[in-house]
């Protein structure tokens, strides 16, 4: 080979080499198709909007709604076992919850919290000329309120929980976060909500958005609920009044088919905040599964007999007794019909036909009667004068009379309920009747027990549904800590800083 040739060859190699080397680092960097990397995100208003949509989207997740029902209803006197109940669910009914129980997992709730944290962290950093201060605050109000709502469910279910306000982004962060006390969490919820009330939208362009997203009124309803939980009754009344007096809401009258308006048609005038479901984006699978469906009217959950064929709770005249529960038992079981049916048709001999729904139902978080009865409960607790009790009775009467249209107006007469205790029982019972199966009852009962400092009255009510093993359950639920769920064993393994609810660490519940 000549020197000339060798030279050419060297040059060729050199050129090839340089081309390759300089191309290397670029060449070894690829970004995934169909996904966006963090560095390229958070630039526009629509980026923020899309993650807020994710917050809502992850709240209509199966596991989230499932827990709203199981946590809020299962342990209360509303529920007994239906058809095809699983072992884990049965254990909850038997007050035999262990840290291994799947329903003690909170992961879906923290998933929502993390999305909200991301919105709250990155939204102020978005630089978009169209994204005004007001728009930005409105978006943040939604994330603040959704995070507060989720934390509120957690704090009511577990008591002390990790309070995380930063998004999880890299593996360099410390994820072993210890629990914060109940009060710290509630304080955070309160201050977030006060900010959200100021920043939130009053309404959106469509009814579905106004009902399906966080508005000022949704924040107020939530605040009222939080204040009630914290026994801050004056504030409860204030915030309830803001909603009750708002022209945005109107109670559906007895002759306007309330069940159909509220539960079948969705987004009624009475609705404040309800999670939206739709065939095109997400089916609410929990309703057919837990409450029943056209194909299988027997759900996993059922109702204790005493609410159905006795007047223990519902008067015979109460339409809710037939609207919410199928009035004829099948194989000894009464089916839950709330949410599951489209409407009920009653012939002139009083026999009801239940028409199950074709479409998927929403899940209501707050509606007007709930707020009215919250106010009633707060008034009873305030009990500053007889007037408070009278006002409470009036509120109860509003919902009660709507559902007992055949009764005379003074059926609930003040003389019968003129003590604080009697009125308290009445409000509690009316809340149970009105909000049955809406994920409220257990929290109502726990609120009562917390107020009392013991579980005696709670037990009295809950034990009604048990036909056997009453004494065992009574012993177990004696402890106030037993009102809360255990922290899931997998969480305890993954995070050494968590402290289990003492009720579940005694050898007995290992």
């Amino acid at each position: 080979m000549t020197t000339m040739k060798r030279h050419t060859f060297k040059q060729l190699m050199l050129i090839a080499g340089i081309t390759l080397l300089s191309a290397c680092s670029d060449w070894l960097t690829i970004e995934p198709e169909g996904k966006i990397v963090l560095g390229d995100y958070w630039n526009t208003e629509s980026d923020v909007e899309a993650v807020i949509a994710t917050c809502y989207r992850s709240m209509i997740d199966y596991e989230y709604i499932r827990r709203l029902i199981i946590w809020g209803e299962m342990r209360s006197d509303n529920i007994v076992a239906g058809n095809g109940i699983k072992e884990t669910e049965k254990r909850i009914l038997e007050a035999n919850i262990t840290p291994a129980n799947w329903y003690s997992s909170w992961s879906q709730f923290y998933t929502v919290i993390n999305y909200c944290n991301a919105v709250l962290y990155y939204t102020p950093k978005v630089i978009d000329p169209n994204f005004t201060e007001a728009k930005m605050r409105a978006k943040m109000a939604e994330a603040l309120a959704l995070r507060a709502l989720t934390y509120f469910y957690l704090v009511r279910t577990y008591k002390d929980i990790p309070l995380i306000l930063e998004p999880s982004v890299t593996d360099q962060q410390d994820y072993s976060v210890p629990q914060s006390s109940e009060n710290t969490v509630l304080d955070q919820i309160e201050s977030d909500l006060l900010k959200a009330e100021e920043w939130a939208m009053t309404s959106f362009s469509s009814i579905a958005h106004t009902k399906g997203r966080i508005t000022k009124n949704a924040v107020r309803a939530l605040l009222a609920d939080v204040y009630l939980w914290r026994n801050k009754y004056n504030q409860t009344v204030t915030y309830c009044d803001k909603i009750i007096e708002s022209p945005a809401f109107k109670l559906i009258e007895a002759d306007e088919t309330p069940y159909m308006q509220i539960f079948s048609r969705k987004n009624s005038t009475e609705s404040i905040f309800e999670l939206q479901f739709g065939e095109s984006f997400k089916i609410n699978e929990n309703i057919p599964d837990l409450y029943g469906s056209r194909d299988e009217p027997e759900g996993i959950l059922s109702v204790p007999q005493l609410f159905c064929n006795t007047n223990t709770l519902f008067e015979t005249t109460d339409v809710r007794r037939k609207d919410f529960i199928r009035d004829q038992p099948v194989n000894g079981l009464y089916y839950i019909t709330k949410y599951a049916i489209d409407y009920r048709f009653e012939n002139n001999t009083g026999v009801s036909t239940y028409l199950y729904r074709y479409t998927t139902p929403n899940w209501i978080i707050y509606r007007l009667t709930d707020v009215m009865l919250m106010k009633a409960e707060a008034l009873v607790q305030l009990n500053r004068s007889e007037q408070d009790l009278r006002s409470a009775l009036q509120l109860v009467n509003t919902t009660y009379m709507r559902s007992n249209p055949t009764l005379l107006n003074d059926t609930l007469d003040f003389e019968t309920y003129n003590t604080k205790r009697a009125m308290e029982d009445l409000v509690l019972a009316e809340r149970q009747r009105e909000l049955m199966f809406e994920g409220k009852r257990w929290f109502d009962l726990v609120r009562l027990a917390r107020r009392e400092g013991n579980t005696d009255r709670l037990l009295e009510l809950v034990l009604r549904k048990y036909t056997e093993n009453q004494s065992v359950i009574k012993t177990k639920l004696k402890d106030l800590n037993s009102m809360y769920m255990p922290i899931n064993e997998n969480e305890l393994k993954a995070n050494k800083k968590l402290v289990q609810n003492p009720f579940y660490t005694t050898k007995q519940y290992n």
Binding site: W27, I30, Q172, K493, A494
Partner: protein
């Protein structure tokens, strides 16, 4: 495709082009002549070629029928080359001559030649003399598995290589196997070795986000798409010095496969046909329907002592029950799902070629039906290897392979169902008279609630016949190679070699579950459920390297240098769609209407590149040193961690060449010491891990949602394995008896852990990967080979033995992982063993209770022999309470699961004599790591008849026999092994089989009752091979004919009671035998003919 690849291909072509342009014209002349041979006279079709000084062909012609030729010569200073098959090639100077009378000589009539062949070995980059090998590697040639009924490479390798442990995932047709070279270097990342085919990485790129939804799908063996008949040799690279050249991919060892190439000479046609028959070996004998119902009634009665509890109409044999006829049978489900499996395997190979070109073309067709019904694999494969010599210095080669596999699998794992399904049930629905109808029977939804689990278990026969689960794959691998000697190889070699290789892989999985099989009429998604998963991928890889072998005037020195630049890219895309409620069972497509249940797609993309330098130096072929450095870059890592450097150094010392060894020359032929060291890597499987990604997440109302989907891994690194290897090779009596011994020590750092659980309060529950700790592996391998160990006349015998073992130890590991897997309070449940992950311990240890039989009596009676459930102190005296009553043995006293033992319950040793069986009574029961494993092969030869007996073995490993546990626990509704007929039934029964307790009691806690020693010696195959002597073949114009018969898996010597002692490793190294399909017994008869 990306720009760089295009550029390189262009360069490649350009490079090739420049060579052809340089041909020069220097006037032309016509020459004539005649070619003949002394014996045959004038020769027709002789190649007459004008070649230049580089031996490049300038012009060419062939002689006519009379041996005449005429050729227009471009340059008279060129030479004339005359060649003919079987004759010696002549090279003549042209000059001014115009007529040539050429007489060719027979190539075989060479007067005297001394051939000195050096056995060489290809390290994957360089071809070096075997005696200069300094790395730990082992090669087996195709001779060793010729004629065996092996469907794939892993089957062929099993037990043949010291330190390579292969466990078939199951005996199901077409299922893959897991391979471990020198143990496990990673706990929760891939431990599979890298497969290299003809120098090109052979793997299936996986789309990062995609998982096929069918859960019971066995990992399909990639290797199945390489036809074993095409393989020339397989080399297993074991130490880091040898695998360092694969850098970041080499940590788990490398299996390098080379395929056959064309052989110069007359075209040779070879045809092979093999027929195999296989049967399922006998598993556990299960209960008959009658025995089963009797057991079930007892099991329901015992815990509650109530007749109502055991009054289940399906067990009552009550003719008034509407389904009576369907529940009064004695069905042997296992028999119903097994069959005689057959394999037909055809293979044709053509090879040949001449001076310029060589070729090898092959085609194979395999059709295999499993020994379990409803399984069938069809594979069509073809391969073409072409080599074309442009000149002495330039060679093009191309390889092309195509494989199409069609695997009809079972929708459900049938054997496990067959072992569990209630035997009183009928296969077909029966009419009122008990006659079978043509409808498969399924348990009605209205059946007793207690039978829920049996309801969910599909009728296995119906599942095999009606449900569809097929996997089709097509893989095309074209490779183009160029080799160019930049200098005259006679002087010194400077050789460029390069290739571009493509790998096109398409896979399709289709499943269909007809409504006849759905066990519930309410779960709608079960009805006519269908799913289609498609994946396709294209990988391109290219390597450009230079080898330089300088000539030294002092011939004591020899040096080879090699440098290479490689890069690769892969793109894949997958789609999954599943739907249900298609209008009829005959319209099975996922898009044929019905409701869409799930739809997903997953794109995947990845790139890598590497530079490598390698040197081999030998002094007098006595002192040898090899050095490798590879620098690897990959898109899998973030900017700060993109590149990794992987060095390797190895030495060899041929001690035998030293003067002081002269005394041994008579008997010792090889003695070599080989120390080596190197670092290799192991990357995570997924791409994009270092990004925080935002992806679409459906809608909320009309609002499109986008969510952050992962936690960004900012500091993810390669898993690094550094290893030392010390090897000693000994050869005796002219290497007739050879031994090589390797001791190694491997250290894994930055061990990758996939799917690390984190507190879900983070909003995510796992970190995709994390570098979590380090681990040690040390072990040894011994390989013994005796060629013609015994020789008497035409008879001789070869023996090959290999032994190996390793021990691993976790050095340190992230606390989060330890916490995750070592719970402080072990939750004692039936069927669970305590396992621990401990620093400075090897894993795979099993802890549990000691099983001591069954309590004979329920009550204690002073002086009565026999066992009763009462606590005893260390001296064997019954413990009494304050009232003087004996204290009853209790399980987990004071907890929710407290249980008082009764007669017929299992006795667990009360280690601390406190009358309470709890976690304090758990002891060490054994370890799943074998003490040794290996293979033994004997080969007897007599003339052309040979008999090869190959066995493999494993010693000293403990296996948890879950299969037996579930077949003897009498806890659920599943059918049980016939051994439970020995169960305790009434007070005083003396037996080792506890009583039946449906869903209660603690009779099957993790105890040594189910931990068994799984040592075994398996006669894996016996092969008889007979080559028909050529004198019988000549008249039939056949060159070669071989007949063979192989018996696979003839017998297994083991004390293990399960169906198959060869059990894979489970989580944390503990082997759980879940009663998978055992390896079938089979025979193969074959015929191979070559023309």
């Amino acid at each position: 495709m990306n720009k760089l690849v295009k550029t390189l291909i262009f360069l490649f072509i350009l490079l090739a082009g420049t060579f052809s342009i340089s041909a020069q014209d220097a006037g032309s002349n016509i020459i004539r002549g005649i070619v003949s041979s002394k014996i045959d006279g004038p020769l027709m079709s002789v190649h007459v070629v004008e070649v230049d000084q580089n031996k490049r062909y300038i012009s060419t012609t062939v002689t006519d029928i009379n041996g005449n030729f005429a050729l227009k010569v471009k340059n008279t200073s060129n030479k004339l080359q005359v060649s003919y098959v079987g004759m010696k090639t002549q090279l003549l100077t042209i000059g001014s001559r115009t007529y040539f009378n050429i007489v060719l000589e027979d190539a075989t009539t060479i007067s005297e030649v001394t051939v000195r062949a050096n056995r060489t070995v290809n390290t994957g980059t360089l071809t070096i003399p075997e005696r200069e090998r300094s790395m730990a590697m082992q090669t087996i040639s195709s001779k060793e598995f010729e004629g065996l009924s092996v469907a794939s490479v892993d089957d062929a390798l099993q037990g043949k290589i010291a330190g390579l442990d292969i466990i078939a995932n199951s005996g199901d047709v077409g299922s893959g196997s897991s391979m471990r070279i020198r143990g496990i270097t990673s706990i929760n990342n891939s431990s599979e070795p890298l497969i290299v085919l003809n120098g090109v990485i052979y793997d299936t790129p996986q789309a990062s986000t995609f998982e096929f939804a069918t859960a019971n799908q066995e990992q399909f063996a990639d290797l199945l798409s390489i036809n074993v008949d095409d393989i020339e040799s397989i080399t297993v690279l074991k130490d880091a010095a040898s695998t360092a050249m694969w850098g970041s991919r080499g940590a788990n060892g490398v299996i390098s496969i080379n395929t056959k190439k064309g052989i110069r000479g007359k075209t040779r046609v070879q045809y092979t046909y093999r027929y195999s028959g296989a049967i399922q070996p006998q598993g556990y004998t299960m209960l008959t329907g009658d025995d089963y119902t009797m057991l079930m009634k007892e099991a329901y009665f015992n815990p509650r002592q109530s007749n109502t509890a055991s009054n289940i109409r399906e067990f009552n044999y009550d003719p008034s029950f509407s389904e009576y006829e369907n529940y009064n049978n004695n069905t042997n489900w296992v028999k119903a799902v097994t069959q005689y499996g057959q394999t037909h395997d055809h293979y044709v190979q053509l090879s040949g070629g001449g001076e310029k070109a060589r070729f090898m073309i092959s085609g194979g067709y395999l059709n295999q039906t499993g020994s379990v019904i409803g399984q069938q694999v069809e594979r069509f494969s073809t391969r073409m290897n072409l080599d074309y010599n442009v000149s002495d210095r330039i060679r093009f080669s191309t390889e092309f392979s195509f494989t199409h596999t069609d695997n009809n699998r079972n929708y459900d794992a049938l054997l496990p169902i067959a072992y569990r399904k209630m035997p009183n049930l009928s296969i077909y629905a029966q009419d009122a008279d008990g006659n079978n109808t043509d409808r498969y029977y399924k348990i009605l939804t209205s059946a007793s609630n207690q039978l829920a689990d049996q309801k969910d278990m599909r009728n296995p026969v119906a599942s095999a016949r009606l449900a569809i689960n097929e996997y089709k794959s097509t893989r095309i691998l074209p490779t183009f190679r160029l080799q160019y000697d930049l200098l005259d190889p006679q002087e010194q070699m400077l050789r460029y070699r390069g290739y571009v290789s493509f790998d096109v892989n398409n896979g399709n999985t289709f499943t269909f579950l007809p409504k006849e099989l759905s066990t519930s009429n309410w779960l709608q998604e079960d009805i006519n459920q269908s799913s289609t998963a498609d994946s396709r991928s294209l990988s391109v890889s290219s390597d450009h390297n230079l080898t330089w072998t300088p000539k030294f005037t002092n011939e004591d020195h020899s040096l080879m240098l090699y440098s290479s630049f490689q890069f690769g890219t892969s793109n894949s895309r997958s789609q999954f769609i599943s739907s249900y409620g298609t209008p009829s069972g005959t319209i099975t497509g996922s898009t044929a209407g019905g409701y869409i249940k799930d739809f997903s797609t997953g794109p995947g993309q990845g790139r890598w590149m590497a530079y490598m330098m390698l040197g081999h130096y030998a002094y007098k072929s006595k002192y040898i040193a090899d050095i490798t450095v590879r620098r690897d870059g990959s898109t899998k890592f973030g900017d700060n961690r993109k590149w990794g450097t992987f060095p390797g150094v190895s030495f060899a010392w041929n001690i035998i060449d030293e003067d002081f060894m002269e005394f041994s020359t008579n008997w010792l032929s090889t003695m070599r010491f080989r120390p080596s060291w190197g670092i290799t890597g192991n990357p995570p499987k997924s791409e994009y891990l270092f990004y925080s990604l935002y992806s679409s997440f459906g809608n909320y109302m009309d609002l499109p949602a986008i969510r952050p989907e992962n936690i960004q891994l900012t500091d993810l690194r390669w898993e690094k394995v550094s290893s030392f290897n010390y090897g000693l090779d000994l050869g005796f009596f002219d290497d007739r008896f050879m031994m090589d011994f390797n001791f190694y020590y491997k250290r894994t750092d930055d061990m990758l852990w996939g799917g690390l659980t984190i507190p879900s309060s983070a909003g995510y529950s796992v970190l995709n990967y994390q570098n979590v700790g380090s681990m040690d592996n040390r072990g040894w391998e011994l390989n013994l080979q005796g060629y013609k160990l015994i020789k008497a006349g035409d008879f001789w015998m070869d023996v090959t033995l290999n032994f190996s073992n390793y021990v691993n130890k976790i050095l340190d590991i992230d606390d989060a992982i330890l916490a995750r897997y070592n719970t402080v309070d072990f939750n004692i449940r039936n069927g669970q063993y305590l396992t621990r992950l401990q620093e400075n311990n090897s894993y795979g240890s099993i802890y549990g209770f000691r099983y001591k039989g069954v309590y004979q009596y329920s009550q204690y009676e002073e002086g009565r022999p026999g066992t009763s459930p009462f606590a005893r102190d260390a001296d064997g005296q019954v413990i009494r309470d304050a009232k003087g009553e004996p204290v009853r043995m209790t399980f987990s006293a004071g907890t929710n699961s407290e249980y008082k033992f009764k007669g017929g319950d299992a006795i667990y040793e009360d280690i601390n004599h406190d009358g309470n069986i709890n976690e304090l009574d758990i002891v060490y029961l054994g370890n799943s790591n074998p003490l040794m494993n290996g293979g033994i092969s004997f080969k007897f030869n007599y003339k052309t008849l040979s008999v090869n007996i190959f066995s493999n073995f494993r010693i000293g490993n403990e296996v948890v026999n879950m299969g037996r546990m579930y077949a003897e626990n009498m806890y659920g509704n599943n059918n049980q092994a016939a051994s439970v007929n020995w169960r305790w039934r009434k007070d005083g029964d003396l037996t080792h089989m506890p009583r039946a307790l449906h869903q209660s009691g603690y009779n099957w806690l993790g105890s040594d009752r189910f931990v068994e020693n799984a040592s075994f010696l398996r006669v894996k195959n016996i092969q008889v091979n007979y080559g028909v002597p050529s004198k019988h073949l000549k008249p039939m114009k056949i060159n070669q004919a071989t007949l063979y018969l192989t018996i696979n898996n003839l017998m297994t010597f083991t004390r293990y009671s399960g169906v198959d002692p060869e059990v894979g490793y489970g989580t944390f190294g503990v082997s759980y035998d879940g009663n998978q399909t055992p390896r079938s017994k089979s025979f193969t008869a074959g015929l191979s003919v070559a023309f």
